[in-house]
């Protein structure tokens, strides 16, 4: 049985990854999950310099999901190079670094610093709804997305994955813009902007007012967008949004994702990635699927 998949020439032993920002740098979940079994770890977004993030409360639970407004707190790319990448090097797993910035220059600085590092792929976060400057501004207009993708392609040594925002009218248009500008892959979805109000205190539940919705609640939106993107582009897709079980992961793969990432549900079940990996193998056995690549995009018109 083959469960390995390839993205932009890099091979991963299986399609199961961890969604950026929900798995730290791997270290935090190493007590629960065997990182050696993961297709890849996608690390928390990292900028050129340390970012403090937003004030608290930063997280709040919602029905079947949660809102977060972390605001991309991160220790900066230098710390990642000194501390986190060497840590991940110990494991037999793919390493994808998620990159954020406030300006195109910020992003370029990060990808250049990572150019000689043991990083398989770069995931460019242009879709975080929780920071005022940059980020989502690049991810909600096709021409802005095209521009930043094109520029990063010039500076990035590793292949780049553009991480798309679901907060758009037409996801296919965004996927096409990324592909046209040279992106090696796309990942989606980032969180959907949401809000919760504390009716007792009559104030916003999050200090940032709005936050990004993730978890099982959003899965149908994510599957739809992955499907629409898969119909629109030829580059590989990493699908995410509410994945809790192998069944969820397989839905994304059938819709057109080459790989998948488990996000918020790590918080509910720190072993979630492990059972997703096992469940995919079981499904393949039951359904007599020899090679997982038969499943990618197998459901379509």
């Amino acid at each position: 049985m083959n469960t390995s998949v390839e993205i932009a020439g890099v091979s991963f032993k299986n399609p199961v990854m961890t969604a950026s920002g929900t798995f730290g740098s791997g270290m935090e979940y190493a007590e629960f999950a065997d990182l050696n079994r993961l297709g890849a770890v996608i690390t928390k977004g990292v900028a050129n310099v340390p970012w403090p993030g937003n004030p608290t409360p930063r997280v709040v639970e919602t029905y079947g999901g949660m809102l977060n407004a972390i605001g991309l707190q991160n220790p900066g790319v230098d710390v990642m190079i000194e501390r986190d990448l060497p840590y991940l090097q110990q494991f037999d797993t793919g390493v994808i670094v998620n990159v954020c910035g406030k300006s195109v220059e910020d992003y370029i600085e990060v990808v250049e610093k990572l150019s000689d590092q043991p990083v398989d792929l770069l995931e460019i976060n242009v879709s975080c709804p929780n920071v005022k400057e940059g980020a989502i501004a690049f991810g909600q207009k096709a021409d802005a997305l095209y521009n930043i993708t094109e520029q990063l392609k010039k500076h990035a040594k590793q292949p780049i994955i553009m991480k798309l925002s679901p907060n758009v009218t037409d996801i296919a248009e965004m996927a096409k813009a990324a592909e046209a500008a040279g992106a090696d892959a796309i990942s989606l979805i980032n969180t959907i902007t949401g809000m919760k109000i504390d009716i007792d205190k009559r104030r916003f539940a999050l200090a940032n007012k709005t936050g990004g919705l993730s978890g099982p609640a959003i899965k149908p939106v994510a599957v739809r967008m992955v499907y629409q993107a898969a119909q629109a582009v030829k580059i590989p897709i990493i699908g995410m949004g509410g994945i809790a079980t192998a069944e969820d992961a397989i839905e994304f793969i059938l819709a057109g994702a080459t790989a998948v990432a488990v996000g918020m549900m790590n918080f509910h079940d720190p072993y979630a990635t492990m059972s997703v990996i096992e469940g995919i193998e079981k499904y393949m056995q039951m359904q007599h699927v020899e090679d997982i690549r038969e499943l990618i995009g197998a459901v379509h018109d």
């Binding site: 730290g24 935090e28 340390p50 930063r58 707190q73 720190p270």
Partner: protein
Amino acid sequence: MAKKKKTQAKVLSQRMLADGICDLWLETSLAEHVNPGQFIGVYPANASALLPRPISICRVNEGRNALRLVYRIVGKGTAEFALYQPGEYLSVLGILGNGFPMEKAAGRKVMLMGGGIGVPPLLELAAQLKRLPEGQKPSQISIVMGYRDAQTFLKEEFEENGALYIATEDGSVGSRGNVLDAVRENHVEADVIYACGPMPMLRAIKKYAQDNRIQAYISLEERMACGVGACLGCVCKTVHEDAHSHVNNTRICTDGPVFNAEDVDI
């Protein structure tokens, strides 16, 4: 420290301690090497509520593999927990957080200060401090607890572990007012404070400790998602740059919940 895990815990007993305050004993392998002040994440079975609820450990019985939680019913999760009967199972994540630094107590006068639902973790702390071997033991244990009213849950058990002073908001028991009012009224002295309670109380204690040159270790609360340091949801501002985050932010779930009051900007 033991490896963290998510596991099933069996309810041994549950009863009401006061209005809306539940006292729950769980049997779980997590009950090894618990530092007072550490907590666990308790998962509601309700599928709409996916995040673990952080609840402090109130007592440990290593021999019986048992943990005690004392919690207030405030929302969806705690309302569900209150329904569990002996023999039923709850999913728990732990052991989480650092706990109170008991080594600071050696040979010194310590004061344990708790307010509201911050009271429970100090019970295990009091019990462990009292049991410490000669040389590591505090020279004196004073316990100052603040309650809303005469429902002074855990009072008798605190009395077994030190001199107990009580403050109540309505003045029905002990000093009227908050824990600091009780401290002043009873001239309680201390070299080290261990505290847990609502933020305004902790702020006041921080100031009191600074003014009186007392070391204060305070247990903080914040909304959590992962409980294990991955999501950066539960941070608290720090006075100095944090070694892990490289900004002035520290994670309460892993680097806390107990901090030296001097280090955090509350």
